[in-house]
């Protein structure tokens, strides 16, 4: 079972640069959930989920099948781990010698 986390861009850069919303931090909105079909993985379970409810449903559906599963999990663009937030908070000292 493969999970692809899609937060629409370069999160770590949003946390480190001057203007987090600047366009160069965005990634192209491709249909990532359909990649297995493009790559010839016939019959795989594919889903794109944006809520916990949708994720539960997708997991259930994936478990009931004998094939591999590929689930794109869409998160908030700014959902960050504690470590990433810590880097953002220590920006001032991050690039010092």
């Amino acid at each position: 079972m493969i999970f692809v986390l899609n937060n629409s861009g370069y999160l770590i850069e949003r946390l480190l640069c001057k203007n987090p919303g600047i366009a160069y931090n965005d990634i192209a909105p491709w249909r990532y959930a359909e990649l297995p079909r493009v790559l010839g993985c016939d019959g795989w379970f594919m889903a794109r989920v944006a809520t916990c409810g949708e994720l539960d449903q997708a997991l259930q559906a994936a478990q009931s099948r004998a094939t591999a599963a590929y689930i794109e999990v869409v998160t908030d663009a700014y959902a960050a781990s504690p470590l990433a937030l810590k880097l953002h908070d220590s920006l001032r000292n991050l690039y010092k010698a």
């Binding site: 370069y10 770590i12 850069e13 480190l16 640069c17 001057k18 203007n19 600047i22 366009a23 160069y24 931090n25 965005d26 990634i27 192209a28 690039y95 010092k96 010698a97």
Partner: protein, 211 residues
Amino acid sequence: MAMTVIQHVLSRLRSIGVTDVFGVPGDFSFPVCDAISEDPQMRWIDCCNELNAAYAADGYARIKGFGALCTTYGVGELSAINAIAGAYAEHLPLFHLVGAPTMGVQAGRAVMHHTLGNGEYNLFQRMTEPVVCADAVMHPQNVAHETERLIAEALYHRRPVYMAFPSDHANQAVTSTAQPVPAPGSDPDSLREAVDAIVAAIEKARSACVP
């Protein structure tokens, strides 16, 4: 107000006709990416990775005569180097703008991300040197002269050039001036003879390959 180091380079590239820069952002290159994004006459074109960016610049150069790309230090520029070498072999002038760590970090040989952790900060520039015709690290004192030199070298040799921008210097005001380097002209008699010889060879030719 005086232009910053990166603004100066962009304005000179614009004046020769570069209006688009392909690239992938990175933290060391934020000042370069920001300056490109904030320049109303320049377009930043985000690419999936640096190799794509460099090949996109290659294609652009085949149509427009020159191209530009922007990558970050180390990992970014190394990803692009394959296409830079291709552009060198194919005689395509590319301007490769690389955002680098601050001079203080470099001088202090600090252990930083995107480095090999051995304090050697000029390694990637040295790796690039065989596949560019000129290279420079830009700072407020040298940027005016080095920009003219690199533009002239790229256009004369029709080959890529490498410009590094330490992130502290990129946004400092330019403190020097320089004039564009005039392109060397051909001797008119030799040029005419060469053209006549080529035309004669083509006229005699029976196939697309002229010996």
